[in-house]
Point group: C2
């Protein structure tokens, strides 16, 4: 075991979107596990869009603390146990998941890690956001067989799974939005979307009206803004919207990632009987055992894939974040150590 570990810190708070030079990869002494802590050698961690928000500072009421210059970044990670207290229930070599990513080694307090149980065929798939996609579709949006589903940000970490899971749950028609012609093609050819709408060209509402001429029943919204407006315009009576992400805010240089303003028409909410749920209203451990079993089954049968990009080496993690925010990748972005 080396005497040092590397980790990624926020060096300076970016004015606009984060660039690699806003981060520093620093060498630190190997963490010494305290009382009850498990020492973990990280194998993978994910690069998640909410980091843009966290880098913008703390957000009142948010489930995660904000990041200040000097702070080490964090995110979901999978690693091998190096050492553990005798009563921890894991042994050296076992795989665990925790939230102290963005570092090679982590001393993880008791209660802040959980063992991987092999429910998913690929350990890295635990870094995917299938739990969110599944919960948004089944709990918030209460997907029914035959529903027409619109996934905004359809190529992102959540969206690339939501589209496939909607299909596996019996959706009739699945439409995704994305920001590049290449990803639009891949939504249809690789991820099973029936149609893609392309941000930055013609109005999303016009494209969505063509892709879903009879309207939509369900929205999984990772973006907000114009895409949410288009979904309201296309909604059928009784449509159910899961509001999951605000990429429109997170990817905008003008916003700190902590707001996602959008003008909506509440008259339409009433006339159409639309229901909108912020994802936090249903998130909870209750859904967890169910999603993992079903996601694992779909992965094994090949009905659903885990779209992701692996970037190797912690020194490349800041670039991976920059590229992810720039919309360069399809699926979950994972750093492999």
């Amino acid at each position: 075991m080396p005497g040092t570990s590397r980790e990624v810190r926020l060096a300076v708070r970016p004015e606009g979107l984060p660039e690699p030079e806003h981060f520093a990869v620093v060498q630190v002494p190997m963490p010494v596990p305290g009382d009850g802590e498990v020492l973990v050698r990280n194998r993978f961690f994910h690069v998640f869009p909410a980091l843009r928000t966290l880098i913008g500072g703390s957000v009142k009421g948010a489930p995660f603390p904000g990041l200040r210059p000097g702070d080490t970044l964090y995110g979901k990670a999978i690693g091998e146990v190096v050492s553990a207290p005798p009563d921890a229930g894991v042994r050296p070599g076992d795989l665990v998941q925790h939230w102290l990513g963005w570092r090679e080694y982590a001393a993880v307090p008791a209660g802040r890690w959980s063992p991987l149980d092999g429910t998913l065929p690929d350990p890295a798939a635990h870094l995917g956001q299938a739990a969110i996609a599944y919960t948004a579709l089944t709990r918030d949006a209460r997907l029914r067989p035959g529903d027409t589903v619109f996934v905004s940000g359809g190529a992102g970490g959540i969206g690339s799974l939501a589209g496939q899971i909607a299909r596996a749950l019996g959706a009739g028609r699945v439409i995704g939005s994305t920001g590049s012609p290449d990803k639009a093609k891949r939504l249809v050819s690789e991820l099973g979307y029936d149609a893609a709408v392309l941000r930055g060209t013609r109005p999303i509402a016009d494209q969505l009206a063509e892709a879903a001429p009879d309207g939509i029943d369900v929205l999984v919204d990772n973006v907000g803004g114009e895409q949410l407006q288009a979904a309201i315009a296309a909604a059928r009576p009784g449509a159910r919207f899961a509001i999951v992400g605000t990429l429109a805010g997170q990817l905008s240089p003008d916003l700190a990632g902590t707001t996602a303003p959008v003008e909506i028409d509440t008259f339409q909410l009433i006339v159409k009987g639309i229901e909108m749920r912020g994802f936090g209203s249903s998130a909870g451990p209750a859904a967890d055992p169910e999603w993992a079993g079903r996601f694992g089954g779909w992965l094994r049968s090949g009905e659903v894939t885990f779209p992701h990009v692996r970037v190797t080496g912690i020194e490349n993690a800041p670039r991976a974040l920059h590229e992810m925010i720039g919309g360069r990748h399809l699926g979950t972005v994972i750093v492999e150590l």
Copy 2:
């Protein structure tokens, strides 16, 4: 029985808010009931804010048809049966409710009327919108005992009942908004609100923060606009919003009553896990038997009152509509014939 009946028609479409001169009270031949129709002498009809929208024209997807110049207005009415087919199940003198208000006599087709069963102690109370208030609170907002409730438009036909019903259902604290100091006082002194916030003075968000320092759990929104924004700002985690009306649009001279634009922040919906439901998403006959029984019980015990204003004579109905839209009245506005 006279040979003629009077009814109120839209004379010209108003540019801004409706004034009495936009309507005509016309004499017409007594309606002759067709096959299966019941002839009803109306006793009361209500004056409802959505008329502003309907006068603006037809609304795609709306449950009611729009009104064109020359059309007779309509609205919920209570009347006495004058004549009925032998198999109709009602006899002359029985009270029925239907939607052909704004006229002295109406020939009501089969299936478009229902008998009053005495569940409510005052027949006129059937013109109140307790069914909407009750359904919004119990189904959309899923009120829990102890919840802090904000009713925007707290003195209106729906709001004046929603505040009282929220209390009867066990709400901990109930706050209402209104547009005049006099009505603000009456919200507290007559309708059991704990506090009132007053539109058009200081920002609603500031007033609501003072009236509900620990935030709100439930919104019954009859207004939209700034009031909805204030509710989002004040929402506690897991807050549930029933979006019932758009008075902000209906009472605005600049809008035709068919839109109610408001800028919201979807990031806050997620961070706080807020759920917003357009009322149409739950409206249905399922709730009906339940609301009537409970509302009748509350009226009889005096726990809830039916706040309303009675205007006498069909010739005064256009003025009653004008005054209602101008916010001059508290509660349901009823025309008595």
